[in-house]
């Protein structure tokens, strides 16, 4: 059941992205920026929390979930450390994913070469 919920929520978020790509002139890069920012805003408004509760990885794996972690991290840290927390909280909460993406991204880019396009 957990997997069904993750599938539905994750699929729906990707579906929204696809509809935006097909019906507007938004490129993939703009979609990613839009989704991350939307995630931060939804974390602030408290809308995304219930989606995460219900959808699990379906809500946290898409980039909106990355934005949600950033926003939630900032709020949690502000509660603990005040103004300083606004600057440290978001990145602290997402540090693993970001460091992983940069490091693995670099390693793979060095190891592999682009495949010739058909």
């Amino acid at each position: 059941m957990e997997y069904v919920r993750a599938f539905i929520v994750g699929g729906t978020i990707c579906l929204i992205g696809q509809i935006l790509m097909d019906t507007t002139k938004l490129t993939a890069a703009r979609i990613l920026v839009l989704f991350v920012t939307a995630g931060v805003v939804m974390a602030g408004l408290g809308i995304y929390e219930p989606i995460v509760e219900w959808g699990g990885a379906g809500a946290t794996v898409p980039l909106t979930g990355f934005g949600y972690s950033l926003g939630k991290g900032a709020i949690e840290e502000v509660k603990k450390a005040g103004l300083l927390g606004a600057f440290t909280g978001g990145i602290k909460a997402t540090a693993g994913g970001i460091a992983g993406a940069v490091t693995f991204g670099y390693i793979m880019a060095v190891l592999f070469n682009p495949k010739t396009k058909p």
């Binding site: 993750a6 599938f7 990707c14 898409p62 934005g67 950033l70 900032a74």
Partner: protein
């Protein structure tokens, strides 16, 4: 004779291409939904695995899941598999965090000939850079707003 035939065939194919409605909204939507959903299920599996085998707490589980997914996305991009998935799935492969890893590796590989600093090192962030800029800035702004409203 063959050349004429080939030319006709090419013309016909162009004619067909013009007739096909583009983009096919329904097909794209279904592909994005299914592939996006499946990638999230892989994430759910990794998350459950981390919780039960490494006894990770909630925060560590989400970090663990993100790191493993980003690794898989980067590896599959290097192997050329992720782009094949992407051609089929569109946003279904772009929106998950694996797509974020893909957006780092693709341009970095492409610009390797420009060197390891301004080629790989800089071009990694063509798409990831803006994502981080807007993500970080808005999270800092949100933290400050939260502080102001909670006083």
């Amino acid at each position: 004779m063959d050349a004429v035939k080939q030319h006709q065939q090419e013309e016909y194919q162009q004619f067909i291409k013009d007739k096909i409605p583009k983009p096919n909204l329904l097909r794209n939507a279904v592909a994005a939904f299914v592939v996006g959903g499946l990638i999230c299920d892989v994430g759910q599996f990794i998350s459950n695995f981390g919780q039960s085998y490494f006894n990770l707490n909630k925060d560590d589980t989400s970090a663990f899941t993100a790191i493993v997914l980003v690794f898989l996305g980067a590896l599959l991009t290097g192997l050329g598999i992720y782009d094949q998935i992407g051609r089929f799935a569109g946003a279904g492969s772009v929106v998950p965090i694996t797509g974020f890893a893909n957006s780092i590796v693709s341009p970095a590989m492409e610009f390797k000939r420009e060197g390891y600093v301004l080629g790989v090192g800089a071009k990694m962030f063509i798409i990831a850079g803006p994502v981080l800029v807007y993500g970080f800035s808005s999270s800092v702004a949100l933290g400050i707003l939260y502080l102001l409203f909670s006083i």
